[in-house]
């Protein structure tokens, strides 16, 4: 399993990467952590003429919170997200997500930006970013633009709103307000496999415990990452009690579009979306209210 021939170039800065993308257009692919792309090349499912290696653009590796926004550099490794104290304390949903991506050796190279830009519906960050209401920053020949995450993914797998000359440079997440919490729950057959199903849930409560914001994203139960809008809407203005959690989970399961495959029949996956949604909402509630978390 040797990849086909390609040219390899190193980009040492974002402008260099953009210039190379402009030069090569659709023939080029960005090589970040490579743990999705290199297997695709080896199976000859992808055959780009040029690989643009961005692994040396270290200024794209950062995690910082400023002006009420969490900024994550697109080349930030999953391991860095998993290790970050800021993430562990303020954004535990991101730790849930990063610590479940593939395995710890893969996470040393795999990047958050790559996980999103690859737009594999089986990847974990898309659901979490949909739940968090994130946006991404793309840089191209026309400068930078901000794309809301629910406009970043299209209806087709492995496709995003990025133009051929654009590179993903940053992920932006609104800092959690008071009484906010989120969690990502994933069911996998074994470490390193894609999710059978995964659910990301975020909530913000008012002083009376009523939901003012809800975000729910689904992993690997459709041709693209799914935002369970009806489930989110159903929670607004309600207390996050067991009946409302169950109702939201019903709607999330209804929003899933799973297909039967080696990871199980469609109906099983739909049932798992329900179960995982209940768990994620309970954990999000516990985190929002500072209650002790069950596992």
């Amino acid at each position: 399993m040797i990849p086909g021939s390609f040219d390899y170039v190193v980009a040492n800065s974002v402008p260099e990467a953009v210039a190379l993308l402009q030069q090569h257009g659709d023939d080029a692919k960005i090589l970040a952590g490579g743990h999705s792309l290199i297997p695709l090349l080896r199976f000859r499912l992808a055959a780009p003429a040029v690989l643009i290696d961005i692994n040396r653009i270290s200024e794209l590796e950062y995690i910082q919170e400023s002006d009420g926004v969490l900024h994550i550099g697109a080349l930030t490794r999953e391991a860095a997200l998993d290790d970050s104290e800021l993430i562990g304390e303020r954004y535990p949903i991101l730790r849930d997500t990063a610590s479940g991506v593939a395995d710890p050796v893969v996470r040393n190279w795999a990047t958050v930006g790559g996980n999103l830009a690859h737009a594999d519906p089986a990847n974990d960050h898309p659901a979490t970013m949909l739940a968090l209401g994130a946006s991404v920053v793309a840089e191209g020949s026309g400068g930078r633009r901000v794309i809301p995450i629910d406009e970043f993914f299209t209806d087709a797998p492995f496709e995003t709103a990025l133009h051929a000359d654009e590179i993903l440079v940053e992920i932006r997440i609104p800092a959690p307000g008071e009484r906010s919490g989120g969690a990502y729950c994933k069911l996998e057959r074994k470490v390193g496999d894609y999710a059978i199903a995964g659910v990301a849930a975020c909530v913000t409560l008012d002083a009376n415990g009523l939901v003012t914001r809800a975000g729910i994203g689904l992993t690997n139960v459709g041709a693209h990452p799914i935002k369970a809008r009806a489930a989110e809407q159903a929670l607004i203005g309600k207390p996050l009690d067991e009946a409302n959690i169950q109702h939201a989970a019903d709607l999330a399961a209804a929003a899933a579009q799973p297909t039967s495959d080696i990871r199980g029949p469609a109906e099983y996956k739909r049932a798992m979306v329900h179960t995982l949604c209940v768990r994620a909402l309970r954990r999000a509630l516990a985190r929002a209210t500072g209650a002790t978390e069950g596992r």
């Binding site: 399993m1 040797i2 040219d7 490579g34 050796v105 190279w109």
Partner: protein, 170 residues
């Protein structure tokens, strides 16, 4: 196809070569340099048999191109032994009988070394998570966990000497 001149330090020795862009790091290490301690298992970054350290990071060398390693520092299983003396992780695998067929062992040891560098006091759970990207089909992992615990203890004991002598260390 592009050819690239690369210079990579492996186990303290600088290797220079011209490689095709599509040559995978593990193939260059094994077939180009004849350092065959690094194994190839699944070829798809699932099994961890090819795990090496790249700039100190545990890395599946089947999922990196040789050209990407240009200018970087690599440690393979051949770099563990120093002056005829086994590394504590090798000693641990020997003492605790942590291998049967031995195929996963080099990758397992490199994952173990990377874990202990980051976390000198791992719990059993930390170890199990740390090696969860490395598959063993023989042992059932119990003795591998014991071997890494053995190495952790041994490395902590040997590091106490410079610390008590007033050395800083990382």
């Amino acid at each position: 196809m592009s050819k690239h001149h690369i210079s990579v330090t492996i186990n303290g020795t600088v290797y220079e070569d011209d490689v095709d862009s599509r040559t995978l790091l593990v193939h260059w290490i094994r077939d180009g340099l004849h350092l065959t301690g690094t194994h190839i298992g699944c070829d798809t970054s699932s099994c961890g048999a090819c795990t090496i350290l790249v700039d100190g990071r545990a890395t599946k060398s089947c999922t990196m191109f040789a050209v990407q390693a240009n200018g970087r520092e690599i440690m393979t299983v051949e770099g563990l032994e120093k002056d005829g003396k086994l590394h504590p992780i090798q000693e641990g695998f020997h003492q605790e009988h942590a291998l049967q067929c031995g195929y996963c062992t080099p990758g397992m040891m490199m994952a173990g070394v990377a874990l202990l560098q980051r976390n000198p006091h791992p719990s059993e759970r930390d170890i199990r998570v740390g090696i969860s990207g490395n598959l063993c089909r023989c042992t059932g992992y119990v003795n591998i966990v014991k071997a890494i615990q053995y190495a952790a203890e041994k490395m902590r004991a040997s590091e106490q000497v410079p610390v008590s002598a007033g050395e800083g260390g990382e």
